[in-house]
């Protein structure tokens, strides 16, 4: 990088200092606080907090939700990206906007929608009650809400990439006799694998960390319909700070792993 035309050193240092201070105040200090508070009373209490039954149930539910949401939205993302990037058709812009909707809609509203659909007074409420199926205030509701919130993540990473890559390699594969599936597996997939991985990692982080939407549909039933974030809320509101931060630290750790993985992928992509 050419450094001859740049600001005077004192200007530079000031700007660096200001921006780092900003980051510290808003990001770094809170991040460290999470771990500080979690370990305030030592390892013993930390471990107990995360292994007591309600906590374990929350962890299990979070993992289950992610285990469903990630594969489903991964497949959807690939399917949607193929439809949008490889073809020309009327209404494409509208479709893309629809896909990006969860990003702008408040998570609370997302949860609200599902309550309206499947809640006791909802559209399907009576039908569900008659068939003894419970969605709201039960696990299925949580999974559904998470599915809604996270479905754009993979699609959003893939669509611009596939559009930029164009169709030539796929066309070449077709002229060589490959079927649609063969073309996808052998030619397209290897070309998008890093973006795919990237999308999955972000998807996973969001699926495990979603709070607002899940909060609305879950009913906060301890030990049954709490994910880790919800459990954190309950503990915090009971002034059980150490336990709350202990659980929170698990998610913070996940966040850090996500960031590192993200960086690693970007480094790999650039190679």
């Amino acid at each position: 990088m050419n450094n001859t035309i740049t600001e005077k050193p004192y200007v530079r240092y000031t700007l660096i200092f200001l921006s780092l201070t900003f980051l510290a105040l808003f990001l770094v200090v809170p991040l460290i606080t999470i771990f500080a508070e979690a370990f305030q009373k030592g390892w013993g209490l930390y471990l107990t907090s995360i292994t007591e039954p309600a906590a374990m149930a929350a962890i299990r539910l979070t993992l289950l939700t992610a285990a469903i949401a990630v594969p489903v939205n991964l497949v959807f993302g690939i399917v949607a990206a193929w439809a949008i990037a490889k073809f020309e058709f009327f209404g494409k812009r509208f479709l893309i906007t629809l896909i990006e909707l969860p990003f702008t809609v408040s998570p609370v509203i997302s949860g609200l929608i599902f309550v309206l659909l499947f809640g006791a007074q909802g559209v399907f409420g009576k039908w569900l009650a008659d068939h003894d199926i419970q969605i709201i205030f039960a696990v299925p509701g949580i999974v559904l809400a998470t599915l809604f919130i996270t479905f754009p993540y993979v699609a959003r990473e893939l669509i611009p990439l596939m559009q930029a890559q164009g169709n030539e390699q796929e066309e070449a594969a077709l002229t060589l006799g490959a079927s649609g599936w063969q073309t996808f597996w052998k030619v397209t997939l290897p070309n998008i694998r890093w973006a795919l991985l990237y999308g999955v990692i972000l998807l996973n982080a969001r699926a495990m960390g979603e709070f607002g939407a899940v909060s609305v549909v879950s009913g906060h039933i301890r030990g049954l319909t709490n994910t880790i974030p919800l459990h954190v809320e309950i503990l915090y509101n009971e002034y059980n700070f150490v336990a709350a931060f202990a659980m929170a630290s698990l998610l913070a750790l996940l966040a850090l792993v996500t960031l590192i993985a993200k960086n690693w992928i970007e480094w790999k992509k650039g190679e």
């Binding site: 390699q169 077709l174 490959a178 079927s179 052998k186 290897p190």
Partner: protein
């Protein structure tokens, strides 16, 4: 295999890219579609391959109607302008791909791929990735890849367009030799007239979705069928006028135009190297004055003024120019034995 295209039509969003095109390529022929960008030549090629679906017309390969047959089943070899090599596969895997998807065993297809890489002169580079190759090498791999599944046809879409001039010339020679060796029916699309003339048995000149002329290269050059062909292929001097008494007048010069009706507006085109320039008066030579001389490497370009505001360009081979000793301001005599007169549109 032979190709027969009948009344092909293709429209993109209201724009007619291919307008009623019919052509035939016989088994073993090397035919070129020559035309400017946007003339529709690539679209014709892609329709034949099956990469575009025509709106009208039919395509026959080896006398079988393939208009509704999908790409994968047409068995055409296609070479793209930007190679379209599979970035994440080695050269060997790229070339073997067509065999791979047909279920040919690993040993057999790798062997075939190696043979083909040898054919295109890239032995020893099997394990390389496309990003490690030069443009010329990549195009040769693309060709080997297209040939691997033993197609009946070879279609090339401006294959040398992305390469520099010298490389283009080298690969041109190599391609023709390859064609003569394996005798595969080949259809090439290009805007480079030198390429078309050097490589083809026949040339089809394409403009605005239509075929303007179809003939051997020399005929296209010497007997252009339309104004477009004449101006597109090679340089021209262009003169406009009206047919009077069987010829078109331009200053003191007269160009025969007996094939046109009296009073028709016409364009006269003649090539700079069809202009004979001498220092001595000869029968039919018009006097003119050399206004400028430009060196173009192997030829000299003379700007000759016949009358005020009446200039024409002549290209003289350097040897001849040296012998005749032309200088600026000299009076010379000009003859144009071959000119093409077309009715103006």
């Amino acid at each position: 295999m032979s190709i027969q295209v009948k009344k092909l039509k293709k429209i993109f969003n209201g724009f007619t890219a291919v307008d009623d095109v019919s052509l035939i390529v016989d088994d073993g022929e090397f035919v070129t579609l020559l035309g400017p960008s946007g003339s529709g030549k690539s679209t014709v090629l892609r329709c034949i391959a099956g990469l575009e679906a025509p709106d009208n017309g039919s395509i026959e390969i080896n006398n079988e109607d393939v208009t509704r047959v999908p790409v994968q089943e047409r068995r055409v070899g296609f070479v793209f302008q930007h190679y379209a090599l599979f970035r994440h596969m080695t050269l060997l895997e790229n070339v073997a791909f067509g065999l791979n998807v047909r279920g040919v065993g690993k040993k057999e297809r790798n062997e075939k791929a190696r043979d083909l890489l040898q054919l295109v002169g890239l032995t020893g580079l099997e394990k390389r990735m496309p990003s490690q190759l030069s443009g010329g090498q990549r195009q040769r791999v693309a060709l080997a890849r297209a040939l691997a599944p033993q197609p009946g046809l070879l279609l090339l879409d401006e294959p040398f367009g992305a390469l520099d001039a010298r490389l283009r010339k080298e690969l041109r020679v190599w391609l023709r030799e390859l064609h003569d060796r394996i005798n595969l029916t080949t259809l090439l699309v290009t805007h480079d007239q030198d390429e078309a003339f050097e490589l083809s048995d026949r040339v089809l000149v394409v403009n605005k979705g239509r075929i303007e002329q179809e003939a051997e290269p020399q005929k296209i050059f010497d007997e252009p069928a339309s104004e477009f062909v004449a101006t597109f292929v090679g340089e021209t001097n262009r003169v406009e006028g009206t047919v009077q008494e069987g010829s078109v007048a331009w200053g003191p010069m007269r160009f025969k135009a007996v094939h046109l009706k009296e009073g028709t507006k016409a364009s006269v085109l003649f090539r700079p190297n069809d202009v004979y320039v001498t220092s001595h008066r000869e029968k039919g030579g018009w006097p003119g004055i050399i206004r400028s001389i430009q060196f173009l490497g192997a030829t000299e370009s003379l700007e000759i003024e016949i009358e005020k505001d009446l200039n024409l360009t002549a290209h003289i081979p350097k040897g001849v120019a040296a012998l005749s000793g032309f200088t600026v301001g000299e009076q010379v005599y000009v003859m144009v034995p071959m000119a093409h007169v077309f009715a103006s549109k």
